[in-house]
């Protein structure tokens, strides 16, 4: 049954691209317009129409014109609420999407930023079960944070999200599918335990040798820091002043992590081991380099380097 439906869906998407356009990823910004907003009566709407019908038949039967007038008024208001529901969705734009980093198996936090020239009420975004309501600022933007479950490393398309609203009366339900173009990168999950990298058991001479000499990390400026320690170039790219931290001892020697070191394992396990090493190196504030097939990353340290290495691992075939 499921396969049959899948086939029909594939067929429909090939034959009726206009109808199923929402299924293909789209580039940002995505604006909701009449061709992609769907609207149907909600369950409550259907029940309410049945009630209106009963009221109308009763009013007609008893030749009670005021009751009929009331029923007509309620019916017309329901019809008007349909337009209001539609208009509430119309003109909403998804401006951009930001994704945090996450390792496979964890949830990935997505931030979606919407924009519109007017206030839209009670719009909800579904990804998974709990729906999140959009809250618009005064300047007409709304950002929503979503948790996206991940399973495997690598590039992933954004999931299909449903933006829906039953404003104002709940009689109708308008929705639109969003499938933004940007893909998100999921880092590999490091193995839980395993051997240390080769050459990790170095003596501690380096420690003394390099104490206070070499740049260990950048940190925020604190009052009293000597001016010559300020990293001017790095500070220009940030909001606040950064200071080269020399006081932190260079405790560990550099690691040379290499794809070729990890032998006798399958592809994913190799990646998982390398990921663990990268993580450990980052945790120990080491300097490390990473050699991957077709990609060589020079020795460095710090969160940016870590992110770069993890991303490179994630993109391995």
């Amino acid at each position: 049954m499921r396969g049959f439906l899948q086939r029909i869906q594939t067929l429909a998407e090939r034959r009726l691209p206009a109808l199923t356009r929402h299924r293909r990823p789209e580039s940002l910004p995505i604006e909701l317009h009449r061709k992609r907003i769907y609207i149907v009566p909600s369950g409550f709407g259907i029940g309410f129409s049945a009630l209106l019908l009963v009221m109308m038949v009763g009013a007609l039967n008893y030749a009670n014109n005021t009751a009929l007038l009331l029923t007509c008024l309620l019916g017309a208001a329901s019809a008007a609420s349909m337009l209001a529901t539609f208009r509430n969705m119309h003109g909403l734009r998804l401006l951009h999407v930001q994704a945090e980093h996450a390792i496979a198996g964890a949830t990935l936090e997505l931030t979606l930023v919407f924009e519109s020239s007017r206030i839209h009420q009670a719009i909800r975004l579904d990804l998974g079960d709990p729906s999140t309501a959009l809250a618009f600022d005064v300047d007409g933007t709304a950002s929503v944070k979503l948790q996206m479950p991940t399973t495997a490393r690598g590039w992933h398309a954004m999931p299909r999200m449903r933006l829906w609203s039953s404003w104002p009366l709940g009689l109708f339900r308008a929705w639109s599918w969003l499938r933004p173009d940007p893909r998100v990168l999921v880092w590999p999950r490091p193995e839980l335990a395993g051997p240390a990298p080769l050459g990790a058991s170095d003596d501690t001479r380096h420690m003394r040798l390099h104490r206070g000499d070499e740049l260990a990390a950048l940190r925020d400026y604190r009052a009293g820091d000597p001016q010559r320690h300020i990293a001017w170039k790095a500070s220009a790219r940030h909001l606040n002043l950064l200071v080269k931290d020399f006081e932190q001892p260079q405790s560990q020697p550099q690691w040379q992590l290499d794809w070729r070191q990890v032998k006798g394992l399958d592809n994913e396990s190799r990646i998982a081991r390398l990921a663990r090493w990268v993580d450990e190196a980052q945790a120990q504030r080491r300097t490390y380099s990473l050699w991957l097939p077709g990609h060589e990353i020079a020795g460095n340290s710090g969160p940016l380097h870590h992110a770069y290495c993890m991303s490179a691992l994630a993109q391995l075939p």
């Binding site: 369950g43 039967n61 005021t66 009331l70 008024l73 017309a76 208001a77 009420q121 104002p168 339900r173």
Partner: protein, 659 residues
Amino acid sequence: MSPPPSKKNLAPPISDRTFDLLGITMLFVLGLHATHLPWWLCAALAITLGWRWWQRRQRSGSVPRWLKLPALALLTLTVTVCYGTIFGREPGTALAVGLLILKLLETETVRDVRAGISFACFALMAALLSDQTMLATIAVALGLLPALATLRALEPTQTRVPIGRALLPGMLLLTAALPLALLGFLLVPRLSTPLWGTPSPGEASTGLSDSMSPGDFIDLLTDDHPAMRVSFDGLPPRPDLRYFRAYVMWNYDGRNWRYAGGRQNSGEPAAPVEAGASIGYSISLMPTRQHVLPTLDMPLGAPAQANLRIDRELFADKPVNEQINYQLRSALQYRLQPVLDDRSRQLALRLPAGFNPRTRTLAGQWRQRYGNDDAAIVRAALSLFHDGGFRYTLAPAPLGRDAMDDFLFDTHEGFCEHYSSAFTILMRSAGVPARVVTGYQGGFWNQLGGYLLVRNSDAHAWSEVWLAGRGWVRVDPTAAVRPERVTLGAAAAAGDQQTWYRGEWIQALQNRWDIVNRWWDQGVIGFNALRQRGLLTPFGIDDADTKTLGVLLAIGGVLFIAVGLAWALARRQRRDALHTAMRELEAKLARRGVKRRRNEGPKHYLSRAARALPDQREELATLMHHYLELRYAHAEPPTEPVQIFRRMVRDFRGVGVVK
């Protein structure tokens, strides 16, 4: 395509605001039904509502089951005991309102609220079944506001507004929906026959009855509801000529005058002879659930679906269950039945034996005194009423078995029924053929609307006596006692016996306000299948059948939806002065042959224009410089330089100058 909302979406409890609005809705419904529900039931329900509100304030959560079920049982029991049944309109309404309030006890989720609001809408409509006046309808329509606000409160909103303001969007929605609602109201095909039995009237409708005994009218005379509205082709007749005949009663059994048992079905209507000037008028009669149609004095013909009976009373073929309109001509001067056949004479003199001996004796004395002069006997009776110490009152003393003896010789007080009855019996005892006529007399002439408002309290009874050579002549003995009754109306006649709330100024106000009621009664309540069929006559469709109406309704609905869609799709363009000015410049340049290409930036375009129009190169360079500066150097272009830019564009020569 849309999956149904999952259970989890419905599960979260509702906010306090939603509950408050729901409570207000319920209170409104209860208030609208308070007029016809027993007061103690209303009070109990109101207390339940208030208690539930307080209870939920203290601690969120629904009322325990052990409390809900007995409450439900108690309500059903109460209704059954009070009305004897739970079916029918009155007990059904009471039960529905009660259930609605009890529903509040368990309302905790979105689904509950929606069910409650739907039910409340139905209960609001039920309130109109018992009261259809304009004020009641407006009140019911206002009851929709908290209901709509409750539904809105269920949606996740970010802005909290005060509870009064929360009603405003519903008002807007209803206002926007009003045109479509009116269209639907006009064009929804009415049923000419009901699908199932119409509800029996909840209470006996007060109206003229086909029998009369002294004291019967008292409910009628204190009822201010309109009985009918009359508009005349010309000027209205004088107040003392405004007699509307309904029943002509011949049959007296010692206590009651009855219409039945007279001669109502025997033969053709008597033709008025030598009818004088006639007057045309139309009557809009409120539902009476009877056949009789009151007519001004002597009708000259019968409208469709009605016929004249032998004494020229007008009877409709079907009971008047809804407001109807009919048009007539009547004579105010006429001679009716100048020759009285023997059977009629017999009937007009018949009196039950063994009643009212003193009255008979008095009449016998008159006959002896005046001989054959019937007119003198009539005058004698009228002068008795005028000078015999009689009093007009709506609260007369009770009468015994010989009611007319008691009235004429002891109590000396009563109102129209007493006088007409006593007069007719006096006449019959004296050998003058006489009969009682009931109907309406008087009414309030509404200058603004140009119509005569006749209320139930204008019900009246008088007599007709047959005089040789003149036929049946109307004699109003009440006028002999209280002339104001005839010239000024029932309220004036009752004088200071009125209760405070029926005071004169209120009456005056009500009379003037009645023009609105009349418009409502005719335009809204009286808009039936017949009127609907004639709706399209001005447009050349004489008989608008169901199909035509349906097609029109569909067309109208589509038109309204189209207008609504135009509203929904309208995009408010932000007015950007700089953009407008640039478009103006583009248009000018396009006329000179330099059109802006798609995807061409302003800098490229204006440079190209400057190359193409070497005469104005300097000018265009300045314009380009200004535009780029304004557009790209600021997040929001400053106002004043934009004005300067616009002026420069305006001064730019759009048409080439031939040198």
